[in-house]
């Protein structure tokens, strides 16, 4: 049976080890704090980017569908106009043809403008591609932070190093984090004025 002195020494040793463990835990929690905070901030940013992609893709698609509808309508009317010309030729009403041709020319212009509007709208691919790269980049940052957290929890330095290693084979993403299909911070005329002052 241990003496009082022996028991006291054993107890003191246990308490010292417990204090050391608590200190280590506190240090680990401090190491975890920043990656956890940064990850929690980046998740909403990535979500916001993904929502924006969905909204802007939908808006651009609707814009294109409206123009396609308009183009189809113009083509249908043009076919009808060509039939009218055929009838005029058969019935020898040559004077009526000029008006129909003018109408067809106008319809061709509307069709052409509609095609250009579709082309303009197709730029959404470039903008949403940049937004997706931004979201992917945020998610990769979160992945790195989680790896760092795992490293701290497992006490493995190589996990922590991996998280900050830029040579992990991940895609080098070049993008504009502010790319937006609709929201422009500055009007084009303001930018033109700035450059005009230079010259």
């Amino acid at each position: 049976m241990p003496t009082n002195q022996g028991l006291q020494t054993k107890l003191q040793k246990e308490i010292e080890e417990l204090a050391l463990s608590i200190t280590e835990i506190v240090v680990k929690f401090r190491e975890l704090h920043n990656p956890l905070r940064e990850s929690s901030e980046k998740v909403p940013q990535a979500t916001e980017q993904l929502d924006k992609i969905s909204e802007q893709t939908e808006a651009a698609t609707h814009q294109m569908l409206d123009r396609v509808e308009e183009i189809v309508q113009q083509v249908e009317e043009s076919k009808s106009g060509l039939e009218k010309i055929r009838t005029c030729v058969k019935e020898n009403r040559i004077d009526d043809i000029e008006g129909i041709i003018q109408d067809l020319t106008n319809k061709a212009d509307v069709t052409c403008n509609g095609a250009y509007t579709i082309m303009d709208a197709l730029q959404f691919q470039d903008i949403t591609s940049q937004q997706m790269n931004h979201a992917a980049s945020l998610l990769e940052d979160i992945e790195n932070k989680l790896q760092s957290i795992m490293g701290v929890l497992n006490g493995r330095q190589d996990d922590k190093d991996k998280s900050s290693d830029k040579e992990t084979g991940k895609k080098n993403r070049v993008y504009d984090p502010h790319a937006d299909l609709f929201e422009k911070k500055t009007e084009q005329s303001v930018i033109d004025d700035l450059f005009a002052k230079k010259t």
Binding site: Y116, M119, D120, L122, Q123, F124, Q125, D126, I127, S129, Q130, N172, V174, Y175, D176, H178, A179, D180, L181, K184, K185, T186, Q188, I191, D192, L194, F195, K198, T199
Partner: protein
Amino acid sequence: MALKIMVVDDSPTVVKFVSFSLKKGGFEVVTACDGMDALEKISNLPDGIDLIITDLNMPNLDGYGLIAALRQNPRHVDTPIVILSSEDGEDDRERGMEVGANSYLVKPFKAAVLINEVGRYLKTEKVS
């Protein structure tokens, strides 16, 4: 002979869209996927280039680096350079101006606006 314009952008969609618009405007188009590619292609063009349209955010060499490099070359001191970027912050515009760009268009843009902008520097029968 048609005037020659170089389009520099890492987005194939933008390159295709801009090239189509310029060709319809009566210009000859040369394309590059980043600043380094542009410098290499420009150096191999015996007749030079009449105007350059460039993006800013690109791998290898970005638009700012490309413009700065071109402005250091006596052959391209006066070549009109139009920035085409989705970055429309004040810093980007001022930096673009400082390195020597002539104008700055914000993406997305209308083809007609681009042709009009190019027409400020180059005149072809179709544009004028």
